[in-house]
């Protein structure tokens, strides 16, 4: 084992560097302060933020972005961000990895269900007749309309028009 060469996948690290929040993985010096404070690590051996950062430093794409990746066990508590002496912001690196997994199509199916409502309706919770009834019973005002068309417009992945055209548009 000792004779095995450690191979670092820099291509993956470059990709991670370009995802918002991913760049800070470079600062990790493997001190384990995050592990000591991590509630998920306390309750399961399957999750260890230091090991996730080590895998990021090695560029272990398969393990991090595979279907069984431990990144989804993170409780999103921000304790590691609070504690890290190196400003790695481990949770943000994990979020960057999650964004990459979504792109790759390996995120848990549940995630789409839990997040698609916002893009479709502008709200994370579905508005049903029960919601209206319960609000009425408590004497609360009617819900306000959600500007969903505006939301869809800012979320659309459109190609930016070529610079010249854009300038023309502005002049008109």
């Amino acid at each position: 084992m000792a004779k095995d060469k450690i191979v670092v996948n820099y291509r993956f690290r470059d990709k991670l560097n370009k995802v918002q929040g991913g760049k800070h993985h470079n600062y990790c010096y493997q001190c384990s302060a995050c592990v000591a404070i991590c509630p998920a690590a306390r309750f399961t051996d399957e999750f260890n933020p230091r090991v996730i950062l080590l895998k990021a430093l090695l560029g272990a794409e398969e393990e991090l972005l595979g279907k069984d990746s431990p990144i989804w066990l993170c409780t999103n508590c921000y304790s590691c961000y609070e504690r890290c002496p190196q400003d790695v912001r481990p949770i943000e690196v994990i979020i960057a990895l999650k964004n990459m997994a979504v792109e790759k199509g390996t995120a848990p199916e549940n995630l789409a269900k839990l997040s698609q409502n916002i893009a479709q309706t502008g709200l994370s919770v579905t508005v049903t007749s029960t919601v209206h009834r319960r609000r009425q019973e408590l004497g609360l005002p009617e819900l306000r309309t959600v500007p969903i068309e505006e939301l869809k417009e800012i979320l659309a992945d459109q190609e930016e028009p070529p610079k010249d055209n854009k300038d023309n548009d502005e002049r008109q």
Binding site: P39, F43, T44, Y78, S79, I118, V125, L140
Partner: protein
């Protein structure tokens, strides 16, 4: 004082009793809530952020831009909303190129996030701008002898370099809030443990909530007090789940701190929607009524 309430989704849609408690108690503190149109989900700092952080920042920046146009400060009542909005402010401040990228998207709908709006959580507004004396003065029926196990939840405190609410390891903001209502904060060993809701696993969140329930059960607390609707779901409905899946019944009432404030201000339990909770708060109501008779 006039403020813009940012309700988010969980409170108006899932736990309207929390919105009710805010609407009833805040005027007694001299706060006028000015509802405005144009907000969407904050969006949530767990699932939507995991899906696409740039779009997450874009939606949040749009909400901030809507708030900016009003010229008033924005106050959230939900730990998730404050987390998203504050982190967005911090991230866009830290990275001007990213701010430009987000603003390019907002420009499509003639909006711009300038970075001028002040966003805080209701408990921070009360501590820093109104003062706890205002809370004390609003109390008509002090919650004497009501022992409350505070659950801080993660997002109101961490990371403190973004949130600037309190010491993340030794917070006192919520303890001080209920003390002003006359209640007694009770220490317990899992006071700062995460509720586990953001973990995408079946067992782990239950292990965590169960650890918190056991810790509260071992204390002398009459109820649990919190400010986060997501934590509330882990603990109120969560106790039913624990009972069903693990056969252990705790029966610890879980109360949003503004509901407690409503009781302290002399409101009936129904007026702050306590009857809508899975775990009934009858025991502490009786305790309060006994106290009032004496």
């Amino acid at each position: 004082m006039k403020i813009i309430p940012f309700w988010g989704c969980m409170m108006p849609l899932k736990y309207p009793q929390m919105e009710l408690a805010i609407r009833k108690t805040m005027p007694n503190l001299g706060v006028e809530l000015v509802d405005v149109d144009g907000f969407t989900c904050c969006p949530d700092p767990i699932y939507f952020k995991a899906r696409d952080k740039i779009k997450w920042l874009t939606i949040a920046a749009r909400n901030l831009a809507v708030a900016e146009e009003t010229g008033l400060d924005v106050v959230t009542m939900c730990s998730g909303c404050i987390s998203t909005l504050r982190e967005t402010q911090y991230t866009l401040e830290e990275d001007p190129a990213l701010k430009d990228e987000v603003n390019k998207r907002l420009k499509r709908v003639n909006k711009e996030y300038k970075g001028k709006v002040k966003v805080s959580h209701a408990v921070v507004l009360i501590r820093d701008e109104l003062g706890l004396d205002v809370v004390k003065k609003s109390v008509k029926q002090p919650l004497e002898e009501i022992k409350v196990a505070i659950h801080y939840g993660c997002h109101i405190l961490k990371p403190s370099q973004i949130m600037h609410v309190d010491d993340a390891d030794y917070p006192s903001i919520l303890d001080d809030f209920i003390t002003a209502m006359g209640a007694i904060p009770v220490e317990h060993k899992e006071k700062l443990l995460c509720c586990g809701k953001g973990c995408m696993d079946e067992d782990l969140p239950l292990d965590m909530t169960e650890s918190i329930f056991a810790s509260i059960e071992a204390s002398s607390a009459d109820c649990m007090g919190l400010i986060c609707p997501t934590c509330f779901s882990s603990f109120d409905l969560g106790q039913i789940m624990i009972s069903r899946k693990r056969g252990k019944t705790y029966n610890i009432p879980v109360i949003y701190l503004f509901q407690l404030l409503g009781l302290a201000q002399g409101m009936e339990p129904e007026e702050v929607g306590l009857h809508t909770h899975r775990i009934k708060a009858d025991k502490i109501i009786e305790k309060m009524k006994d106290k009032a008779k004496v």
